[in-house]
């Protein structure tokens, strides 16, 4: 049985939440016409990316009424979309929600906030602190928002946590126009998508936006890469497109049978090595001590 994923490679307006919500409803309808099980929107698709001081103006709680149209739409098709989340203690986060059958089932807050070069996320947003997997239409999944995916540990933790698909909603600016027919950023992203997919034996779903904000162009090029490293579907660059891809969850099992890297992965060694480096002692010793403490009468 295959699962059909639609990626909305769209161009949200900056700071115009209501207009962007209308855009979402429109693209969700298009995805439904394509009989997709899930539609994935890029990073901050409801607000625009370089919001700067607008961040507070466009922010909302994850259960805010303004997100109700997505809740309603998700009764017929799963929806993943990006928004500025205001937490209960008034921090602002770059968030991506997953709505399923009229319910928000998962929110990922961007952990790695790029604050260098053309990026200033850290000035306006607080960092997320969790990498949790959840059940998506395409199987157990993790969300890595744009820069999150550039950190090797993130897809690794998701794969270790049981994910068979990693979603990467992005707002990646196109740059590096050297001769050779490809953007520098496109080359890097495709390399990552393929590497993670093949070596963690997961599907990678890269959903990038298009359009311009203050002279910076987002390059699109959304793609779905299978656990065998093949590109299932890839969108054009710098153009709006609803990209539809059929994924086969059984391929994950077949690839893992052929290539059991995850089965053989020594997570305990990773943990022990990092614990020692951070001066936290051996996890096994700590666990033993804690267990002994519990057993005491």
């Amino acid at each position: 049985m295959t699962i059909r994923i639609a990626i909305a490679q769209c161009a949200p307006a900056i700071g115009a939440f209501k207009r962007n919500m209308e855009l979402h409803i429109d693209w969700i309808a298009r995805a439904k016409r394509e009989r997709a099980d899930l539609v994935v929107f890029p990073e901050l698709s409801l607000t625009g990316y370089y919001v700067k001081d607008l961040a507070g103006d466009v922010a909302c709680a994850a259960d805010d009424r303004c997100l109700e149209p997505l809740v309603a739409a998700s009764r017929e098709i799963d929806v993943m979309a990006g928004f500025v989340e205001r937490s209960a203690d008034a921090r602002l986060h770059i968030a991506e929600g997953y709505w399923h059958q009229g319910r928000l089932v998962h929110v990922h807050r961007k952990v790695y906030l790029p604050t260098y070069g053309i990026f200033d996320d850290g000035r306006y947003f607080g960092a997320g602190e969790r990498f949790e997997t959840f059940e998506s239409a395409a199987g157990r999944a993790g969300i890595a928002i744009c820069e999150d995916l550039w950190h090797v540990s993130v897809p690794y933790l998701y794969a270790a946590g049981g994910a068979s698909v990693v979603f990467c909603p992005s707002a990646s600016p196109g740059r590096g126009v050297a001769e050779g027919g490809d953007l520098g950023t496109a080359e890097s992203c495709r390399l990552m998508d393929r590497f993670y997919a093949q070596y963690l034996t997961v599907y990678v779903v890269f959903a990038n936006r298009v359009g311009h904000e203050d002279g910076i162009g987002f390059w699109g090029g959304s793609e779905v890469v299978a656990p065998d490293g093949t590109v299932v579907a890839r969108a054009g660059e710098f153009e709006e497109q609803l990209l539809v891809a059929d994924i086969d969850p059984a391929l994950v099992a077949r690839e893992r049978a052929r290539n059991p890297l995850l089965r053989d992965e020594r997570e305990d060694l990773v943990l022990r090595t990092l614990s020692a480096r951070l001066g936290l002692g051996s996890p096994r010793e700590r666990d033993t001590r804690a267990n002994e403490g519990l057993r005491r009468p």
Binding site: A11, A13, I14, G15, A16, F17, K18, R19, G48, Y50, V51, K52, D53, L54, G174, V177, A178, E179, G180, G181, D182, L183, E187, G211, H212, E213, D214, G215, G217, E237, F238
Partner: protein, 287 residues
């Protein structure tokens, strides 16, 4: 995939090469998107007969159609007659109408009235550049945007008149070095004569950019590429074989002209100040 390492080498200009088709697509998209956000569909630009404005005009015609491009040729009495011929050749090649608006009368009247030193060609040149821009802005009212034509080399060297030729609403070519812009010009089919002629601000007779700057664009572009784009320090550039004097002169030009590339300074006295901690996207859209 480009698997060859890029090394700083004054004899190797290949790092400056661009993918022209990709850049063209990016710049046409930039013009369309950014004008749409401003809710305008018409642009104004000065076409001088040089390669920079020829490229911007070609991109604008592709983005908006020739009927939405107002191109102004604004000669001063010292302007070269070749400039007019070349400006017309660009208009003919890309199919837009070129309007001629001479600026001699107002520039000369100003200096005569003000009793200024009309022999000071820098002042006349700056005045002419600002006169031209004031006309472009006037002609953009009420539904157009002024396009800039300053390239990355000029902007980094500060080789332009502040609020004159450097002024604009949108600049599609400001991130392309002169060498790269010529490459794009050939791809866009700008007449060969215009690509190959000696670049000039044409502010006085027989002026050439390279004569005035004291180095060639080819040398400056490669040096700037490694200095700016690839972040090499002056001592690293010199160690890689770049001329030490050229490195120092160009670095100093970039430093001294930085004021031209930023918004005017505002003295901070209040709790929240424009430009300091009142930071909104320029493309701030309405809901």
């Amino acid at each position: 995939m480009n698997e060859r390492a890029i090394r700083p080498d004054p004899r190797d200009p290949s790092p400056l090469r661009i993918d022209e088709a990709l850049v063209r697509k990016m710049l046409v998209g930039f013009l369309r998107d950014e004008t749409a956000k401003a809710r305008v569909r018409r642009v104004v630009l000065g076409v001088s007969g040089g390669v920079d404005s020829a490229v911007v005009a070609a991109l604008a015609v592709e983005a908006f159609g020739a009927e939405n491009v107002l191109a102004l040729y604004t000669p001063y009495r010292t302007s070269s007659r070749h400039s007019r011929t070349d400006a017309r050749a660009v208009a003919e090649r890309f199919g837009f109408a070129l309007e001629e608006v001479p600026i001699t009368a107002q520039v000369d009247a100003y200096f005569a009235e003000a009793g200024g030193d009309v022999a000071d060609r820098i002042r006349i040149g700056n005045k002419a550049a600002r006169e031209r821009k004031s006309i472009e802005y006037d002609r953009s009212w009420p539904d157009g945007l002024v396009l800039g034509t300053s390239n990355k080399t000029e902007l980094l060297l500060g080789y332009g008149t502040q609020f004159g030729d450097m002024a604009c609403a949108l600049n599609p070519v400001g991130d392309l070095y002169k060498t790269q812009l010529r490459e794009l010009a050939a791809h866009l089919d700008v007449p060969r004569r215009i690509i190959d002629k000696a670049p000039t601000a044409d502010l006085w007779v027989d002026q050439t950019d390279e004569g005035e700057l004291g180095f060639t664009y080819a040398d400056a572009d490669l040096l700037l590429y490694h200095m700016v784009d690839r972040r090499l320090r002056p001592d690293e550039l010199i160690a890689a074989g770049f001329d030490a004097d050229l490195v120092r002169r160009i670095r100093e030009r970039v430093r001294r002209s930085h004021y031209k590339r930023v918004m005017p300074l505002i003295a901070k006295v209040s709790l929240r100040t424009i430009g300091h901690d009142f930071l909104y996207p320029r493309d701030w859209e309405e809901d």
